[in-house]
Symmetry: C2
Subunit: 316 residues, 2 copies
Amino acid sequence: MENNFPSREDINNAHQQISPFIHCTPVLKSSAINEMLGLEVFFKCENFQKIGAFKIRGATNAVLKLSEEEKKYGIATHSSGNHAQAIAYSAKVNHIPAYIVMPKTAPKVKVNAVKGYGAKVVMCEPNLQAREEGLKKVVEDTGARFIHPYNDYEIISGQATAAKELIEQTDVLHIIMAPVGGGGLLAGTALSAHYFSPQTKVIAGEPKGADDAYQSFKAGSLIPSDKPNTIADGLLTSVGEKNFPIIQKFVEDIITVSDEEIVAAMRIIWERMKIIIEPSSAVPFASLIKIKENFQGQKAGIILSGGNVDLGKLPF
Amino acid sequence: MENNFPSREDINNAHQQISPFIHCTPVLKSSAINEMLGLEVFFKCENFQKIGAFKIRGATNAVLKLSEEEKKYGIATHSSGNHAQAIAYSAKVNHIPAYIVMPKTAPKVKVNAVKGYGAKVVMCEPNLQAREEGLKKVVEDTGARFIHPYNDYEIISGQATAAKELIEQTDVLHIIMAPVGGGGLLAGTALSAHYFSPQTKVIAGEPKGADDAYQSFKAGSLIPSDKPNTIADGLLTSVGEKNFPIIQKFVEDIITVSDEEIVAAMRIIWERMKIIIEPSSAVPFASLIKIKENFQGQKAGIILSGGNVDLGKLPF
């Protein structure tokens, strides 16, 4: 490849390295859902993953790629979501320090989860500028390495292993669908399909209220989100610079769905499959419901990205 | 055996007969829960079973045991819960008629589910007398065979297959825990442990607000519930006459838990395992939390009986 995208070997290597630290999550099917859609759907259950989300794959890969010198100083990030837990957990497992800058407004349960993994939490004002400044100071003070949640090839190679496993666990799929926020999971999914199942098309699902990937994909250049607003709180970020060219090259299409469609899709999965997924996870399934006529009788894989919901604030 | 309890052969036979019609449900573990309790817990996930609950096991066995003559006239029951769906679904799969007497107050979603399986629904007033009279009339009018939800050896043999599978799917367990309402699942579990893993003790969990099994077990004779009231709505019924002697003989102990303990246990399973269980399913786990000190370092199996909850009425 003429670019420096992660190679087949990078993803194979990431998978081999991180496997002792992650679950090979199950692939579930539902005959009720298959009947409802008229196609066969294979759900890759990253909601059952360590920390309840795929993010531990990329974080673990990034940590394992550090030099012994870098490990001494540890890792840092700013996040109030699954990436914070992923960084904290993978640091714990690998016995290195972790520093997480979190907005004051982050739910206490998430702050406690991160602290529970032994990470040092630095509180800041709830805006991007304060988060970035807080992180800069932490990095200067500690020498920790900043691990970006998605705009990073090690992260992309790690997230790619979810689709790689899905491909290994199923017969040939006609399509694989993944959600898109910053683009770590989507870029990884697209690369894995390209290398390990080239006949499989990758289609992304994105919330209408945070549709920068869709807009950028159609325009052919990066257009960041302006005031994104969606119930799929894992997908509020805009696509990264390293992620976008991979998405442009290897993703077939991006489908957008409303919050109502996301909640309806989430409800079907909760009720029919009896598994807990977070709103962001329901986005590709909501998208598949929208385009199901194009894939009647075919096989579709869906990456259920995570299951971390606040049970006190459910949308039902 | 000197009694006419279902034999080892009855349960083996039931399992062989019903296997093509049911799921062999997975057994899941959670390292977070194991750490929390100090023992190793194996969850048998009947929430992933057809119709979302173990009840399809007994209902299918009862249907398959009917003569060709009986099949012509079909089956009937009164229920507003999982047994109604189990009877309707197993009748559909076996192409026989089904008649379900349901109280007017039953949630529309459950009535529609039963009708969706092609069963004829007969509405009645919401009290036991009206339900029994409604059922009597249906049986007289149609010649259908009444299938009792638990006070029936074919039902008990069918429900026994859940524990039989759990035993086959795990190493030797020190205890197996099941909830008790009418006693179909508990009696079946106790028989399967007795026949297939005699070193395993069976312990029941029961809601304090419907503790007739506990009272009966301690008194040595059947004492039906008086105005039972618990969030575990699948366990409101009193233990059956055929179930009680089996429970007396083969169950080690019955632990009672408050609704608060049930909801707390349910929340742990939802949050840590990302699976949906109904309140009745959380009763044995709540009971295990209570007696965990007695089983430190040991292996416990728990039958998660079902996952049919109304998402609009969650206790969180």
